[in-house]
Amino acid sequence: MRNIIFLGILSIFLSLFSSGCFKDSVAAGSKYKIPIVNHDLSYIPYDAKVDQADFVICDSTDFRSGRNGIQYIGGSNKLREDINSNFVSNKKYETFNGYVVIRFLVNCEGKSGRYRTQSLNLDFSPVKAPSDLLTYSTQLIKSLDTWEKHSLNDSRMEFSKFINLKFNNGQIQHILL
C-alpha cells in the first residue's frame, strides 16, 4: 500500500516535471541575432574605412569601461551643457524618436578615437536615423574632445566610453552618460 501511494505521487510529479520543466531541445531560433565578438567588449577594433591609422592602442586586452574611469573636463553637467548648446536642430530630424549612441575609446595617450555611432528605436532595435543625424551627432561629440582620466594612476590606462542621446521629435531630450 505504502509503495502504491508513493508511486502514485511520484508519477503525478514526474508528469508535471516532463511537461513543464524542460523545454524541447530545439535550436535557438534565428529570430534573435546572437552577437559573437572575438575581443574584449570594451575594445573597438580598427576599421580602415573609418578610423585614423595613427590612433595608438597600447593594450587592446586591458580597456576599462566603468562610468567614472574618464570624465569630461568640467564634469558631467558641463558635458550636457556643451552638447545642448552646440546641437543645432534640423527640420529633417523632426521625425526621429529614439536613441543615437556614440561609443569611442580614449587611449593611453589620452586621445579619443574609434568612434562608432548607432541609432536605435526606443525598444533598442536598430533603426535608420534621418538624414545626417548620425554623422552630425558623432562630429559634435568628437568636437568636445576634452577627457581626463580619473586619477594619476590611470594615466596610461585606456578606456571605452559611450554617450546616449535620446531624441524626442528630433530634439535631444536626455543625455545619458
Partner: protein, 284 residues
C-alpha cells in the same frame, strides 16, 4: 505509527524537492544538477558558470557563453549573463537581442532586466509594458534591480509618474507597501522616499511629508529626502523651515553627518546644483 510518519516525511521531502524543481528560480541562476546528465542544458549551465568566473565582457568570458549557447540553446541564463556587458558598454542593440531570447525562454526570470535598462535609458513606455507583463502574468513576489537597491515595482511606479500618470504610480507603491505588512523585512531602503516624491509630484503635500518623515527614520543620511521636504515647505510658504531642510540637504550632499546622495531615480534625482539653486532662491 512512527514508521508511517517516517514514510510520509520522506514523501513530503520528495514533494518539496520536486516542487522546487518547478520553480524557475532554480533554472534562472543555474543549479546545474537539476538538468539531466549529458544534456545540453547541463553543459550550458556548467560553461556559463565558468564564463562568469572570467572578467565580465572579456574575450574569454564571451567565448564560454557562445559555446554554452551553442551546446544548450534553451538555457536562458547564458543569454542573460552574456547580455550584461553589452548593455553596460552602450551596445544596446546587441544586449537587447540577447535578453529578448532569454525572455522568450523564461519571461518570468528576465523581463525585469530588460525593464531595468528601459527605465534607466528613459524608455518609460517599454519599461511599463515589461513590468506590467511581469506582474500581471507571472506575479513574482519580490524582484529587485540587479544591484538590489530598488524593488521593481518602484521602477514601475516611477515610470508611470514620468509618463504623466502619477496616481497610478502611487497605487503601485501602495500595493507594494501592503506586502510589507506581513513581511516588513522586505521593505527597501528608498521605498518611503519614492512614495513621498510621487505624492509631492501629485501635489499631495501632507502625505508626501509623512512618507519623507518615515524615510528619515529608515535613513537620515540621504540628502535627497531633506531636499524634497524643503520643497514641500516652500510650497506651504514655510520659508524658514524650508531653508533649514535645504541646508540639511546640502550638508549631506557635502558628506557631512555621513551624508550621501544616489542617482537611482532618473528625473526625480537631486544633485548638488539643485540644492544650491534653491538655497540661492531662498536668499532672494
Amino acid at each position: 505509527m512512527a514508521r508511517f510518519n517516517t514514510f510520509y516525511y520522506k514523501v513530503f521531502c520528495f514533494m518539496f524537492f520536486i516542487s522546487g524543481y518547478h520553480l524557475n528560480s532554480l533554472s534562472a541562476q543555474g543549479n546545474c544538477l537539476v538538468f539531466p546528465e549529458n544534456s545540453g542544458e547541463r553543459k550550458a549551465c556548467e560553461l556559463s558558470y565558468l564564463a562568469v568566473e572570467e572578467s565580465q565582457g572579456s574575450k574569454e568570458s564571451q567565448a564560454l557563453f557562445d559555446k554554452a549557447i551553442q551546446i544548450g540553446p534553451n538555457y536562458a541564463w547564458a543569454y542573460y549573463e552574456k547580455s550584461v556587458p553589452f548593455f553596460k558598454r552602450g551596445m544596446f542593440a546587441e544586449g537587447v537581442s540577447l535578453i529578448n531570447k532569454a525572455i522568450e525562454l523564461e519571461p518570468q526570470n528576465y523581463l525585469f532586466y530588460r525593464a531595468y535598462w528601459y527605465f534607466y535609458q528613459r524608455s518609460y513606455e517599454f519599461c511599463i509594458q515589461d513590468l506590467e507583463q511581469l506582474y500581471s502574468v507571472h506575479q513574482p513576489s519580490y524582484v529587485t534591480t540587479p544591484g538590489g537597491e530598488l524593488e521593481m515595482r518602484l521602477l514601475l511606479a516611477m515610470a508611470y509618474a514620468q509618463s504623466g500618470n502619477v496616481s497610478k504610480g502611487i497605487d503601485w507603491i501602495l500595493h507594494l507597501m501592503d506586502k510589507y505588512k506581513d513581511q516588513p523585512q522586505l521593505k527597501g531602503f528608498y521605498d518611503h522616499f519614492c512614495l513621498g516624491v510621487l505624492y509631492y509630484k501629485n501635489n499631495q503635500f501632507d502625505l508626501a511629508e509623512s512618507e519623507l518623515e518615515k524615510q528619515l527614520i529608515v535613513d537620515d543620511t540621504f540628502a535627497d529626502t531633506y531636499h524634497y521636504l524643503g520643497l514641500i515647505k516652500e510650497k506651504q510658504a514655510e520659508k524658514k523651515i524650508a531653508e533649514g531642510y535645504f541646508k540639511q540637504a546640502m550638508a549631506r550632499m557635502n558628506k557631512e553627518h555621513q551624508g550621501h546622495s544616489i542617482n537611482l531615480f532618473t528625473e526625480f534625482n537631486v544633485n548638488k546644483e539643485d540644492v544650491e539653486k534653491v538655497l540661492l532662491n531662498q536668499l532672494k
